[in-house]
């Protein structure tokens, strides 16, 4: 009988996840408290959505926006109505918009380059239009932002525990007492007791069949498997918006790069979207019109859509980025190199003889994405606290703020750290806590099984069930069948693992199934359709009277309960 070794740790504040939110949380927490631990499933040097870069971040830049006649309140309203379709935690959104620039100045202090001599805007900032109605998205040199942040975290005195996948919470008397993780390389169970915990594990990225047919060829990090959301749900934390998806997520070049260089992104002076006949479907940024067009969502549309072109028999769609001056081209390459996945994409282009001047890049809609644009996760109060006292959530982990993305990560990470430090300052010694029995049993069972199912087969089954029952024909009956199928999978699979690397994947499967079931249950409960993020065949109409709300789902004494919250 093989046993799993358990290693004990303790600290005042434990940050789970080392992405943008987690690093910022650890940095602020370490300024306020000397006993901070950051746990990362990978390594904060290159982990998370911004692992290989981040070239843009939105915020309110008073010296530019006030000149263009846009107030902070207008920008918040623009985001709430045009990005989030009204259903948004406005108080947190306001905090994010108001403090994003402060956190950008922190990044500059840590060593990121945000000012450029050739810019004629105040402060030498490079600002672009992205998803708002005004020029509020900073273009900066963020290729190594994670290395810069990781270095700052190490300097701050916070301890980094890397290659540990947190998958359970410890609680005592209805409050947080710590977390439990599995060492992806050492194969040990790590119990980390803490007075306050900040969850920043981000999105749920491996639920739907990936467009190119390869499990790990997806737009956002495949290492993000909803570990935090699953752990919180099991511990009784209330999650909201879990039924929402971004469909179709975005258009990308076989998921090799984000956004594919289209004008709706932030880095493409020369970029235009065309159909197979060469007709322009999305115009260049500068052809869109005036500068600030506050009050209506800025649109790049020509009256046609990529999807419409495919259906009209004029596909496929391409991003053509061959136009522009040499400076425009150079600027674009600079931006691509600094955006996540960009360095790999440029390397691949060079290796395979591709050139933006000579080649257009074919685009396809990617598989649906959970969490970020759809904002599924724990409901948080104005201090980033979840429904479990002492447990906070930040960035894409938190629910209720669609499109908060990088600024959400930085600002909420900072805020959650301040809240956690206040709590840790008042609390007594960290409690012992309970909540790891199931995890240890799950691991032991797999370790003691020599013949069975490889995790890859379970992953394919999850892809099938989520894609078949939760995308095109969404309805109560389909969701019920999806639940049956995930229950069947959970009860029938006999996972095996040859080493900690494979056992980590088995634990990911457990979390993906947990998240899938939460999604199906909330899908059944919300009896309406709501924009692109939630379309039901059996309730095709939007129903604001009953459903203009966050739908909460939580586990209470072994039973699932739902609750509506006003946004």
């Amino acid at each position: 009988m093989k046993h799993v070794e358990v290693e004990e740790h303790s600290c005042d504040i434990c940050v789970v996840g080392g992405g943008l939110a987690g690093c910022m949380a650890a940095l602020r927490a370490a300024e306020l408290n000397s006993d901070v631990v950051l746990v990362d499933k990978s390594n904060p040097e290159r982990s998370g959505c911004a692992g290989t870069g981040l070239d843009h971040i939105w915020g309110y830049f008073p010296e530019v926006q006030s000149r263009e006649g846009v107030s902070l309140e207008q920008m918040v309203e623009d985001h709430a109505e045009n990005v989030a379709q009204g259903l948004v935690n406005r108080r947190m959104l306001h905090y994010i918009a108001a403090t994003s620039y402060d956190r950008i100045l922190d990044l500059e202090r840590f060593g990121a380059r945000i000012r450029f001599e050739d810019s004629t805007l105040p402060g030498g900032l490079r600002l672009q239009y992205q998803m708002h109605s005004c020029r509020n998205t900073l273009h900066f040199e963020g290729r190594d932002i994670k290395r810069i942040l990781a270095k700052a975290v190490r300097k701050s005195g916070a301890r980094i525990i890397d290659r540990v996948m947190v998958t359970e919470l410890l609680t005592e008397n209805g409050e947080i007492a710590g977390v439990v993780g599995y060492g992806t390389r050492d194969g040990k169970i790590h119990r980390i007791r803490a007075k306050a915990v900040i969850m920043t594990t981000g999105r749920v990225n491996r639920l739907y069949k990936p467009f190119p047919g390869l499990t790990f060829a997806i737009r956002m990090p495949p290492a993000l498997t909803g570990d935090g959301k699953a752990a919180m749900f099991r511990a009784g934390v209330e999650l909201i918006n879990m039924e929402f998806l971004s469909i179709p997520g975005r258009w990308s070049s076989r998921n090799l790069i984000r956004g594919g260089g289209l004008p709706t992104g932030s880095y493409q002076p020369p970029g235009v979207g065309v159909n197979a006949l060469g007709e322009v479907i999305r115009r260049r940024n500068h052809d869109v019109g005036g500068k600030t067009v506050y009050g209506t969502a800025k649109t790049f549309a020509t009256g046609k859509s990529f999807q419409g072109e495919l259906e009209a028999g004029r596909g496929p769609i391409y991003a053509d980025m061959s136009w522009g001056s040499e400076e425009d081209q150079r600027y674009m390459l600079w931006a691509v190199e600094n955006e996540g996945l960009g360095p790999g994409f440029l390397h691949i282009m060079e290796r395979y003889g591709l050139d933006f001047r000579k080649h257009k890049i074919e685009l396809w809609p990617i598989e649906p994405e959970h969490s970020a644009a759809a904002a599924g996760g724990p409901i948080v109060d104005e201090t980033c606290q979840t429904t479990l006292p002492g447990l906070y959530a930040a960035g894409d982990e938190a629910g209720g703020i669609p499109g908060s993305v990088a600024p959400g990560a930085f600002t909420m990470g900072y805020l959650a750290a301040e809240s956690a430090a206040r709590r840790a300052g008042h609390a007594g010694a960290a409690a012992q806590g309970k909540g790891d029995d199931e995890l240890i049993a799950f691991c032991s069972e797999i370790l003691n099984r020599s013949v069975g199912d490889p995790w890859e087969d379970a992953q394919r089954a999850i892809h099938n069930h989520m894609s078949d029952y939760n995308i095109h024909f969404r309805s109560e009956t389909m969701a019920r069948r999806g639940l049956e199928c995930l229950d069947y999978l959970e009860n029938t699979m006999r996972l095996t693992a040859a080493n900690p690397h494979e056992l980590t994947h088995c634990l990911e499967i457990r979390n993906l199934i947990e998240c899938g079931k939460i999604i199906f249950r909330s899908t059944i409960e919300r009896k309406e359709s709501r924009g692109k993020v939630f379309q039901r065949k059996d309730y095709p109409q939007r129903d604001d009277a009953s459903w203009f709300c966050f739908l909460g789902q939580k586990l209470e004494n072994g039973r699932v309960r739902f609750q509506k919250h006003s946004p």
Partner: protein, 121 residues
């Protein structure tokens, strides 16, 4: 399948092993050997190992389903009659306003380009 390590260039420092978000590298006997790549199919093609390798020893090979089949571009460099559009592009996308600079929209009169140490065209 990605990634590929050039054994002649690799100095066995293990940075790729340390930073890979997908944990595709592996040392059998510690940092005295070229890392093994037991899980190439788990690569995310993010390029972290390519960027961070101090010896430039790592490159990415694409599996066949991810190849980008070449397709000729439609536009190319703009003609002289497009100067106005180039100005608007510089203003809109590169934060270079016409009134403040003079010169030409290609940036001939601007102080420097974005990348450090890069020469003017």
């Amino acid at each position: 399948m990605p990634p590929v390590i050039d054994k002649k260039l690799c100095n066995c420092c293990g940075i790729c092993y340390d930073i890979c978000p997908q944990d595709v590298f592996y040392f059998d006997r510690g940092r005295k050997e070229v890392p093994a790549i037991p899980y190439p199919q788990e690569c995310w093609y993010c390029g972290a190992c390519v960027v961070d390798c101090p010896k430039g020893a790592v490159s990415l090979d694409l599996p066949l389903p991810l190849h980008i089949v070449p397709s000729p571009a439609l536009y190319g460099p703009p003609g002289p009659e497009e100067e106005e559009a180039l100005w608007r592009a510089a203003d809109f996308s590169r934060s270079i306003e016409r009134d403040s600079t003079g010169g030409n929209p290609g940036g001939g009169n601007t102080a420097s380009s974005g990348r450090k140490g890069e020469k003017e065209s």
